[in-house]
């Protein structure tokens, strides 16, 4: 009996000690949720930020729609870099936005497998029989929205919509083409990253879809984390701009806005 109690106590003791070790971290951490397309840029910025301030950015990437919904349901994000305005608006409507600034722009392209013989001069060419499977991010994902807008603008959406393969996010759409499982995909220009297995078949003209804007949002917390504020400032600084431009993003200038400020 005593042996049993003692071993139980030992077990509980060690588990508690382990958990203490895991949670009590001496470095400050800021939780950043970023659109899937911003992965490499944010990772590089995070290491620069850590070198400069010692603050660690804990990064979580995914479709902006998924991330916004997680934040809405209480996920511990402090910064959110969304791939479109609508998901930042979504959080603003829930009263979760403390500070907001349009940070990046991007361009939409159609990619095909590198060995594909297909050529496109116009979005309408996607209705050709050679394109049986089109990978798009899902309808709620920014990249998927821009793509659908483009197809609707080209007036071929009704014809191709049953060939659409919904990918979880823009990088999943990219991967379908890399693997040769899809004949074409709509991704951002920044997603190419020099990958030799795909090639850009078409640059989509900006008037075909809503302007691609990536707002950076500081999430409202019950007690604001100073480290989060300095991370926000760093992400909007020159140093971060250099990294974003390196990864092919367009960077916007301008002042941050409070939620009460009017948005265009």
């Amino acid at each position: 009996m005593t042996l049993c109690v003692r071993s139980l106590a030992l077990m509980l003791g060690s588990i508690t000690a382990l958990l203490q070790g895991c949670s009590a971290s001496k470095t400050q951490v800021v939780h950043v949720y970023g659109a899937a397309s911003t992965r490499e840029a944010l990772e590089e910025i995070a290491s620069g930020f850590r070198a400069q301030t010692g603050i660690r950015l804990e990064l979580n990437f995914g479709a902006s729609s998924d991330l916004a919904r997680q934040i809405e349901h209480g996920a511990a994000a402090e910064l959110f870099l969304s791939a479109d305005e609508s998901w930042a608006d979504y959080l603003a409507n829930k009263g979760l936005v403390e500070k907001r600034r349009d940070l990046l722009t991007n361009r939409l392209v159609v990619i095909v497998p590198a060995d594909s013989q297909q050529s496109i001069h116009d979005l309408r060419d996607l209705a050709n029989p050679g394109f049986q499977r089109l990978a798009l991010a899902g309808p709620a994902v920014p990249a998927g929205r821009y793509a659908r807008e483009g197809l609707q603008h080209a007036e071929i959406w009704e014809r191709v919509k049953n060939r659409v393969l919904d990918a979880g996010d823009v990088r999943a759409a990219f991967t379908y083409v890399v693997r040769g499982e899809a004949d074409a995909a709509f991704v951002y220009g920044t997603d190419i990253r020099g990958d030799k297995k795909v090639r850009i078949a078409l640059d989509i003209k900006p008037e075909f879809h809503a302007p691609i804007r990536y707002p950076l949002v500081l999430i409202r917390q019950s007690s604001m984390n100073a480290a989060a504020l300095s991370a926000f400032d760093y992400l909007t600084s020159q140093k971060a701009e250099i990294v974003f431009r390196k990864w092919d993003f367009g960077v916007l200038g301008g002042e941050p806005t409070k939620p009460s400020d009017s948005k265009e």
Binding site: A63, Y90, A140, R179, G180
Partner: protein, 243 residues
């Protein structure tokens, strides 16, 4: 082929939109096809595992039960590697016949068939194990070939258990998500109930949430109903054997 029948036009009804009813119809079709597809192999393996011992039997048993314990996305990924356009089997198939398996409705059927297979074999094996082996031997000694004896004697006696296995595999097939998502992808032709719920969940508007709930209820009803039928059949089979 199959999809002309299963993706038939639907009407908005009972809080579900057209595409939701299509998802229900597609789920039922795909699950049914998946079980039928896996039945011949399931019957054979159930029989062999019940009646024979052979070198490597454990490996076969493990292989059969693997889809039950592997994460479904892993199973889906393995199927994708095998049957994709550049896969070991799929690449050959695509080059010589032009038939595509991965990321089509065929993949949806194959995925649910594979996921339900362990449950099917388990029930069938139990059913055959519950039979008196002397009945089969008697038929053989009277001159029946092995196949004849199987179909005339063993199978009819085990039919409740086999049916229970089919219904259980069907229920599992209805609820399949991870392997379907990986292997068949999220597209109009493969959007089963679970994929439709997943898609609706990503949309922010409230109207989608209501439809999602309606589908969740439909899913519960279908799964619950199938399970109840399966239990009933299994008990009926056991009662017959002890009679």
């Amino acid at each position: 082929m199959l999809d002309v029948f299963c993706l038939a036009h639907a009407e908005p009804f009972l809080g579900l939109a057209e595409e939701d009813w299509r998802a229900v119809g597609l789920s039922l079709c795909v699950a049914f096809a998946g079980v039928l597809l896996s039945l011949p192999l399931g019957l054979w393996l159930g029989w062999v595992l019940a009646r024979r011992s052979f070198y490597g039997k454990t490996i076969v048993e493990t292989a059969v039960n693997l889809p039950l314990v592997l994460p479904p996305v892993v199973t889906g990924y393995l199927l994708l590697i095998l049957f994709g356009r550049h896969g070991w089997v799929g690449g050959w198939l695509h080059r010589w016949t032009g038939i595509e398996v991965a990321l089509t409705w065929r993949a949806a059927v194959l995925a649910v068939g594979v996921m339900g297979f362990p449950l099917l074999v388990r029930s069938i094996r139990l059913a055959f194990q519950g039979l008196d082996p002397r009945l089969y031997q008697a038929a053989r000694s009277l001159g029946a070939g092995p196949v004849d004896a199987f179909f005339s004697v063993s199978l009819p006696l085990a039919r409740s258990g086999v049916l229970a296995g089919m219904v259980l595999a069907f229920a599992r097939a209805l609820g399949e998500f991870g392997a379907t998502l990986m292997f068949a992808g999220n597209q109009e032709r493969t959007r089963t109930i679970s994929l439709q719920i997943y898609t609706l969940n990503q949309m922010p508007e409230e109207s989608y949430e209501q439809r999602m709930w309606a589908l969740v209820v439909a899913s519960l009803v279908l799964a619950g109903g199938a399970l109840a039928i399966s239990e009933f059949l299994e008990r009926r089979g056991q009662r017959r054997e002890s009679a």
